[in-house]
Every structure is written in structure tokens, then in C-alpha cells.
Symmetry: C2
Subunit: 116 residues, 2 copies
């Protein structure tokens, strides 16, 4: 575990990274979309619409729409589950992995710049 963040550092970090995301305007993802994206890329698959909706505490159509948007951006892809064809599994993409990786780099860079 890293050394503890102080409140001013924590907020400064959040501000700086959010600021970069808005300023660069690449993603323009809502908080929900960001939560879905990171859940898909950080947690163990498989990820279904229902599972994501339950985990995030939102409705299924909200997940469907988030996946629509992120699919349009190439950040995730959807695939029918062959075993149970009612299910849709959300899969990672190269572009999505790159975007997540860039976000990680951004957080780390801003974290390094934090005042002591």
C-alpha cells in the first residue's frame, strides 16, 4: 500500500486528472460509462449487462446505452454467449485497453506531480 494521501493531495489529484479529461476532451465519458469501462477492464470476466447493472446499482437500459456509446467509440465489444444465448458478454478491445492504459498513465503522472 502506498503512503497515505492527505486530503488536499487526494482532491488535488482528482481535480488534476478530471481537469485533463475535460480539457483534452477525448473520451467525454460520463461517470457511469467510466465505471463500466474500468469494471470491464479491471475485474474478472465474464461481464453481462445484468451483472454490471446489479453491481453499479443502475437499470439495465442504462448499461445497454453505455455499451452502445462505448461500442461506437470502439472501447468494448459485445458478443452473444454461446452457452446461454440470452446473455451478452462484454469483451475488451485493443482500443479500450489503450484508453485505459492512457488513463493510468495520466493518473500516475498527476500523482507524481503532487506537492509534498
Amino acid at each position: 500500500m502506498p503512503t497515505s494521501l492527505r486530503p488536499s493531495q487526494a482532491l488535488r489529484l482528482w481535480h488534476d486528472v478530471t481537469f485533463d479529461l475535460v480539457r483534452d476532451g477525448e473520451h467525454d465519458l460520463s461517470a457511469r460509462q467510466m465505471a463500466v469501462l474500468l469494471t470491464v477492464y479491471l475485474e474478472m470476466p465474464p461481464h453481462t449487462v445484468r451483472g454490471l447493472a446489479a453491481k453499479l446499482g443502475v437499470t439495465k437500459p442504462a448499461i445497454t446505452r453505455a455499451l452502445d456509446t462505448m461500442g461506437r467509440l470502439g472501447l468494448v465489444s459485445r458478443h452473444r454467449d454461446a452457452a446461454d444465448r440470452r446473455n451478452v458478454v462484454v469483451q475488451r478491445t485493443v482500443a479500450g485497453a489503450l484508453a485505459v492504459e492512457r488513463l493510468g498513465d495520466l493518473i500516475i503522472a498527476r500523482h507524481k506531480e503532487l506537492p509534498p
Copy 2:
């Protein structure tokens, strides 16, 4: 400066905090609104609509609307500048300070929980 975050830790932190924000659903602020809120509470006043728009690289009406929403939520307040009555200065509120403080606590808590 805290010890450096590793990529997996940085992304895990971002995921966990975003997840909490979505799950608890208290704020429901967009990335822009979050950037405005944290800028107002972290950077040196005074904050004008024009200044915030220039800093974030968005249009003035976008800032006006963000301030409308956040004012409705009681997170900020607006006042005409007495010196130059064309300007509106954005001021902090008790509720806003509390919300920002809670966000800081959330980030710190999630940061503490990060795997080594």
C-alpha cells in the same frame, strides 16, 4: 510526494472511487461539473464564468449551466462583483465544502485499501 503509484493501483483507485460515486448516486455530476467544482474549491479565487470557461476550454454557456445545476444543488453560489458589475464571482458554500470534503475522504479511504 507520496510513493509512486503503479498502473494497476492507479486504475484500481480510479475505478473504486468512480464506482462509489455512481453507486451512491449522491452527486451525479458530469466530468465538467466535477472539474468546475474542484477548481472553485481548490484554486485561488476569484472565479468568474469567463475564467473558468477559458481554463477548462469550454464555452461560457456551458459554465453557466454547470453553475446553474450546482447552484440548484447548493454546491456553489454566484454573486455580482461589486467592483466590475459585469463579472459574476463564484463562491463556495458550506454544502459544497462538505461535498468536496466527503470526496476527499472517499479517495483517501479507497487509496488506503489499495493492494500492495
